[in-house]
């Protein structure tokens, strides 16, 4: 139903933009963290509209369930949150960074070729996005297990194995760093 999809898209867009504005404009840091979670959920909604259920679910799991919670933990350990962010000397560099980022993103959006992709490529993308990570869907096992297109799993473990492993190494380093920082001195 295209009408319903359009409606959903506009509702999600309005919510996402309003919440994003709220993140910046609301004074209470705790509330802005919550509004950030709303932005993440709306983005998950966009993923659903693009029929990428897997990405949508992972978006909620990682960004809402983990990253927002981390932010809130951080805010909880900060004093005088309700007075908002006290202005400091980093204001001008921050404005410059943000503007550069905005310009970059707008340039990327303009330069991207937004034409719909051809049918064969669309099927590949579909398989990569929506198929179960564990393996082929049941009932589709007509050919051998190895020949099945296993979507994300295949991409992660075969084609992009090096970046994947590099990320895991980065996480390990972060973990050890966290432990080293958290360990009480002298013990």
């Amino acid at each position: 139903m295209p009408v319903v999809q359009d409606l959903a898209f506009w509702v999600l867009s309005v919510v996402a933009i309003a919440a994003a504005l709220g993140v910046v404009l609301v004074k209470d840091l705790f509330r802005s963290a919550l509004l950030l979670a709303v932005v993440f959920i709306s983005v998950a909604g966009f993923f659903v509209l693009l029929s990428a259920e897997f990405l949508a679910v992972v978006q909620v799991l990682i960004y809402v369930g983990a990253i927002s919670v981390l932010f809130i933990f951080g805010i909880m350990l900060t004093r005088n949150v309700r007075e908002g962010n006290v202005p400091n000397r980093l204001q001008i560099p921050a404005v410059m960074c943000a503007s550069l980022l905005l310009v970059g993103m707008i340039a990327a959006a303009i330069n991207t070729d937004w034409r719909p992709i051809p049918e064969a490529a669309a099927q590949m993308v579909d398989a990569a996005q929506t198929q179960s990570v564990a393996g082929p869907p049941a009932g589709a096992s007509s050919s051998g297990y190895a020949e099945q297109d296993t979507g994300l799993a295949e991409l992660l473990i075969a084609d992009f194995v090096l970046p994947f492993e590099a990320v895991s190494l980065l996480l390990l380093a972060a973990l050890i760093g966290g432990l080293a920082l958290a360990r009480s001195r002298g013990s």
Partner: protein, 407 residues
């Protein structure tokens, strides 16, 4: 006018939805039928959670009563069955208090945010053949993702209450939630691997042998982890009455308290339903496939009973013991299960990538032994970490002064 649901729609597999849609579609335009069928299903799910919560409060109090050698509520209605109604009326007539200096909007949003994820989680659970609202192909992940919203809601409750104890409760609850998420997810990975799918419908179909026999270790980790995530005894430091009043919902009263309580007990029901689907074979059972709902209810009831049994049996753990239990006991167990199941699936599956009934039986035999050994080994390793160590009073000898005890 008659409406036909497109066969590629995600709702097509749902028998009840299609039936309502087609009946309503005879007299009303299709988009109205679409909405009405959705509302009918939403009505069923909301009531499944909230009425389930009511029944579980009653059941829990009765069963706990039996465990503690007393009677429990038995006055109102047969076996005290109307007790939840009385409780609800009492809570609804209470004054709706809001503490001074609280964050009004956030404070009022919390009860809704506690209940909503539970109702969303039921959307992918098949209650009987072809009755999951949406048989998502990422069902298991969907459940995990939606349940993770609860931790944000708990933080909101703790923060907006403007109360130290609520804050402590929220911090404890979220710490527990984050630590137990990892073993639970790893234990579910084993289930997903054997079923070769994340759709709950397919997982039910794959259980020629129920998965609690095929992967007893995963079942154990899941049940222990989930009791912790539901903030139930012995893991209920987040609302330990003797330490921090009632934790994050200290300041809630009246209808908001009722909703938070409903979320807590409804959570037990929903998690039990999910456990029954993932490990006990869901709606599948002997005799007729039209009896699926009955098998599903019986299996869910068994899991709920197990949760109540845990609660009645074990005393509350300290927070460090809870953390040790998760990171030093459940996590290694989940890892062992993951490695063993990966090897078994890799070696046993045929060319078609399908595990036969015999394969599952072999896996069950191996995994039972692995479970017994690994629980014994890791339980032994962690034993002196979690046993209560009393500090011996030290004799301090000071010349010229009579001996004093410093504890």
């Amino acid at each position: 006018m008659s409406c036909q649901l497109a066969s590629d729609s995600i709702l097509y597999a749902n028998g009840i939805y299609r039936l309502v849609y087609e009946i309503v579609g005879v007299v009303l335009p299709c988009w109205v039928a679409y909405a009405i069928a959705g509302l009918v299903f939403a009505f069923i799910l909301v009531n499944a959670v909230l009425l389930g919560a009511a029944v579980i409060t009653w059941g829990e109090r009765r069963v706990l009563g039996r465990f503690q050698n007393r009677v429990g509520p038995n006055r109102w209605g047969p076996f005290g069955l109307f007790q939840p109604v009385a409780d609800l009326v009492k809570l609804l007539t209470k004054e709706d208090l809001r503490p001074e200096g609280s964050d009004r909007v956030v404070f009022s949003l919390v009860p809704v945010l506690m209940v909503a994820p539970l109702i969303l989680m039921t959307a992918v659970v098949p209650f009987a053949k072809n009755t999951a609202l949406a048989s998502l192909n990422v069902g298991v992940l969907f459940i995990l993702a939606v349940s993770s919203i609860t931790s944000v809601a708990i933080f909101m409750a703790g923060w907006s209450s403007n109360n130290r104890y609520a804050m402590f409760g929220a911090a404890r609850a979220v710490a527990v939630l984050i630590s137990y998420e990892i073993p639970v997810v790893l234990s579910l990975l084993g289930v997903v691997m054997v079923a070769a799918s994340m759709s709950l419908g397919t997982i039910v179909a794959a259980q020629a042998l129920p998965f609690f026999l095929v992967q007893p270790l995963a079942f154990f980790v899941f049940m222990a982890g989930m009791s912790a995530e539901l903030n139930r005894s012995p893991f209920d430091v987040a609302e330990a009455e003797s330490e921090i009043i009632a934790g994050y919902h200290t300041e809630y009263s009246g209808v908001r308290f009722a909703l938070i309580q409903a979320a807590e007990f409804g959570g037990v029901g929903v998690v039990a339903a999910i456990a029954a689907t993932l490990f006990l074979g869901g709606w599948s059972g002997p005799w007729s496939e039209y009896l699926g709902w009955l098998w599903f209810l019986i299996k869910t009831g068994i899991i709920v009973f197990l949760f109540i049994w845990f609660r009645a049996t074990y005393p509350r753990l300290r927070i460090d013991q809870i953390m040790a239990f998760s990171w030093k006991f459940l996590l290694p167990l989940a890892m062992v299960n993951l490695v063993v199941v990966t090897l078994e699936v890799f070696l046993l599956r045929g060319d078609e990538g399908v595990l036969t009934h015999t394969d599952l039986a072999i896996m069950a035999a191996i995994n039972l032994a692995v479970t017994a050994i690994s629980i014994a080994v890791f339980g032994n390793l962690i034993k002196d970490r979690v046993t209560f160590r009393t500090r011996q009073p030290q004799q301090v000898v000071v010349p010229g002064v009579s001996t004093i005890e410093v504890s």
